[in-house]
Every structure is written in C-alpha cells, then in structure tokens.
C-alpha cells in the first residue's frame, strides 16, 4: 500500500515554483529519505503534505485519503516533527504528551501508558523538569514522542538532526531507526550520512523537482563510479606500475591523493581488478592497501544535483 502519494504537486510563490510538479509514492512501512540541498523545496512540500500550506496545483493522498488545506481529516494518520520544535515551555514532558494525546481524544488510562512508553522510547523516562530547561537534543526527542502519540501511520520528520550536536544526532537517529517497519517515516534531511544509515528508499529533489528516486543499493549501482584505491611503498617499481596503469584503456581517471596512495576510476571494474593485481605482481610492488570503493550517497547526491 502507498502511504504518501502526490500527483503533480506544485507550489508557486509568484513566478517562482518552490515545488514543481512533484510526483511521490512512498510505500507503507518504509523509512523514506527526502533529500535535497537547502532551498530545494523540502519543507514547503512537507507543509503541503500536512495540510498547513495550500498547493498551487496537484493532489495529495495520505493513506488513501485526500489531503486538503486546513482540514483535520488526515490528522489521525499523521505525526509531525518540525526542524526546530517548539513546545509550551511551562509544561513537563509527560504533561505535554498527555495534552497532545487528549487533543486526539485518547482515553486517559491508555494515554498514560502510551506516554510512559514513548518517554521510554526517547530516553526521557523520569525527566520531570519543565521543557524550558531542555537541551535541543531533548526537545527533539520529545518532539519524536509527541509525533507518535496517536499511533500515526505516517510520521513526517523535517530535518530532525540538522540543529543537533553529534551526540544528540546519534540519539535521534537511533530512535528513528527503531521505528523501522512499525510506521512509515518521511524523513527530510540534507545530512546524507543519516539517510545512508536508516533509509530504505530516497528521493532527491532540487529546485522543487524530483531528480531521482530509488533504493540506496540501486542508486549505488546506477551511479557507481567503479573506484579502486591503491596504496603501496613509494618505490621505483610502484612509479613504473602507475605509469603503466595510466595507459590502460579501462582507466577513466587517476588521482594521487597522498604519498603512495592513488584513487583510480575505471569503466570496467572486473577487467580492472584482474589486470591491476596482475600488473602489481609483475612489478613486484609491495602493496599496502587495495580497496574497491563503494560510491557514497554524497557522491551520488552531488552527481545528481550537479547534472
């Protein structure tokens, strides 16, 4: 089943299209990475998906139901965490979760249990101080808890780690990872390592347009630059080997990164693997490292965005 679906979703501000004919299909239960550089239209898209902003044109469905601007009809199916969440600072964390749950008319006993479970999930059990005294990381974790209070089918997380230090980021990512398979997570970010770690599928957008959408393994395959990193003792035989290597047909590019270390981009990885090992043997090169390079999501992202 499709959890989030958009059809030709467009948002124009005057003559500028912040979101331009976006077609999305987010399968149920997946952690879906919504990637794009700053100003790509990620937050604008999420606001339209939540019914907080009115699309200029296009359609949105969440769990099969149409989303219309300002309507409360879909709210039971969704949870939302903004990039910098703001709460009622005079409340304590459990009090805030109880307040959120009561807005959904969740029965008190069930809500109490749910709030305790969520506080445990986000590591805030026993924290009994006012939200005013919370760190950014704690606020973000409470934000995740409030987004889950109604057992939503889809949770929208808008750049949940962008304002956090590395420890806070790790804590939040660990929590999101725990949601895998339980709820559909629509995860907007520009931090690629976060996406690489937890997302099943990603879409990359820029200037409001979808550039590519696929699973991370498929993207790696499609955008693989077939790189090999070689490191050896900087000897005469190694230099001769490098000269030989640069004349091979299957070499696209060679780049010396450090003393004794080269990064080689090849157009045929199998030929390269066989020939390089043979050539190294023939020149008696004392090899330190031989690594087949996996393209990082960052490489793919830069490639796709700069196309």
């Amino acid at each position: 089943m499709i959890a989030v679906e958009t059809y030709k979703l467009t948002k124009a501000f005057g003559s500028y299209n912040a979101v331009d004919g976006l077609d999305l299909k987010v399968p149920e239960g997946e952690i879906y990475g919504f990637l794009g550089p700053n100003g790509a239209g990620k937050t604008t898209t999420i606001k339209m998906l939540l019914g907080l902003s009115k699309p200029t044109s296009g359609e949105i469905k969440i769990c099969g139901k149409d989303v219309t601007f300002g309507s409360v009809r879909n709210r039971i199916d969704i949870g939302f965490l903004p990039d910098v969440p703001s709460f009622y600072d005079w409340m304590k964390p459990k009090e805030f979760l109880m307040f959120c749950g009561k807005i959904f008319s969740i029965e008190s006993r069930q809500l109490n249990e749910k709030a305790d479970n969520l506080l445990e999930l986000v590591g805030l059990t026993g924290v009994n101080k006012k939200i005013k005294g919370f760190s950014r990381g704690m606020k973000q974790r409470l934000g995740i808890a409030q987004a889950l209070i109604n057992n939503p089918k889809v949770v929208f997380l808008d750049e949940p780690t962008s304002a956090l230090d590395p420890i806070g980021r790790k804590d939040v990512m660990d929590i999101i990872e725990k949601l895998s398979g339980k709820v559909t997570v629509f995860f907007s970010t520009h931090i690629l390592s976060d996406v690489e770690r937890i997302c099943d599928r990603v879409v990359i957008i820029d200037k409001g347009k979808m550039l590519i959408e696929d699973t991370i393994p498929n993207l790696r395959q499609k955008y693989s630059s077939h790189g090999i990193e070689i490191e050896a003792e900087e000897t005469e035989s190694y230099r001769e080997f490098l000269t030989d290597l640069s004349n091979q047909k299957w070499i696209d590019r060679m780049e010396k990164t450090e003393e004794g270390k080269v990064k080689v981009l090849v157009n045929n990885i199998k030929d390269a693997q066989l020939n390089i090992t043979r050539m190294l043997g023939a020149r008696n090169v004392e090899l330190r490292k031989f690594i087949i390079l996996e393209p990082s999501l960052e490489d793919i992202f830069l490639k796709v965005v700069s196309k």
Binding site: G70, V72, R75, I76, P85, F99, K102, I103, N150
Partner: protein, 251 residues
Amino acid sequence: MMAGFEFFKKEMREIVKTQKIFILPALFLFVAFSSPLASKYINEILKMVGVDATFPEPKFTDSYLQFFKNFNSMCFFIMVLSFMGIVVDERVRGSMVIALTKRLSRTQFIFSKFISVVLFYTASYFVSVVGCIYYTYLLFPNYYHENLFLSFFIFWIYGVFIISVTVLGSTISKTHMMSGIIGIGALLGFPLIAMIPRVGKYTPGKLSELSTKIISGTNQASDTIIPLAVTAIAVCVIMFLSVFAFKRQEI
C-alpha cells in the same frame, strides 16, 4: 469538540503558569479599591500634595465614575499588552504547528484562546466590581444606583469587544509589535470614533462613555440598547473575521 476543550484547558493553565493570573487581577483590584478611596478623599489628597483647590463634597457615584475612568485608561491597556501575543507568539515560536497538526481545527484554536481570555477577564472584573462596590459601601453613606449593574455590564461588554479586537490583531499580525500596535490603536481609536456626529453614538467606543453617563444621569439606560447590540454584533463579526483570516493563513 474535545480537542477544542482540551486546548481551552491548556490556555487556562497557561494563564496560571505564566503569572498572568496575578498581574491582571492585582491591577483590577488596585483600581477597585483605589477609585472609591480617591473619590472620597480627593480634597485631602490635593491638600497633602499642596494643590490649592477644593472639589464639591464627593458622592458615592463619583466612586464608580472614577472606577470606569481608571479601568479604561489602565486595565484595558495592560490587558491588551498581556494578550496581544496570544496568537502571533505561537506562530513566531512555532508551537502552533505542533497543535495544528493534531486534531485541533483552526476555529477551535482561535475560539479556545478568545474564550479563555474572556473568562479570565470576566472573573477578574467580577472580583474588582465586588471590591469597588464594597469599598463604596464602606466609605459612602449610599452605594446603590438604579443603573449600577447595567453600567458594570456594558463596561464588561466593552472589555469583551477589546479582547476580540486583540485576538484579531494577534491573528493577522506577523510580529508581536504589529499586534500591539493594532490592539493599542483600537483602544485609543474606538473612543475617537464614538465622537463622530450622528453615527458615533452607536459604536462600541460609546459604551465606555455611557457606563459613566448613565450613572451621572447625563444619559438614560435606554440609550445603551443600540451600542450594546452593535458591540455584541461587532464581537461576533470580529471573531468570524479572526477565524476566516486564520483559516487562510499558511503556517
């Protein structure tokens, strides 16, 4: 419906937790107690500060006239300042987004805020009215006037009108300051509108003036009917406009 009620409860608790619970009632009570005292001892006060002037022997009605005058200049001003951020603050801070992505409609959001402020104002006003009447009773030989309760009632309605304008100002503003300018502007502007010949006497601003004039005898109780009705309708229209404007806003 439940969502609106829960949000209303949150608003009431917020009034308590953010110290507003002390500020307004304290000010209202100060006006309630100081007005009869100032009216009764005006000549003594003037003598103490070295002013060589004597006012006629004070009457109990002066106590109420002083109350309305002080309330109009101080209490409404502070009330507007206290609540001018009621909507815009949530927008600027971002807490509104979390509430509005739950099962809370925009109509419920606005009305919860309006009703909570009206209730808080009503309770504070009621206490100050009781205080003012009690002090008048203690200080003067008489305390009752046939238009006394009507006078307090129309003044209360005027306060509700001011609250509705404050909510509208806060809804349509992008900043706290802009909201304040609208609220204070309305507070100063409506009495001026009431001075416009022929139509002014039917406007909400006239109510604050009538509350004193029906006690001093310049106007009859029947003169309040049209401005009362106009003000009640204006409150409804302003709240409708607040909801209408809020529903069109992208958050």
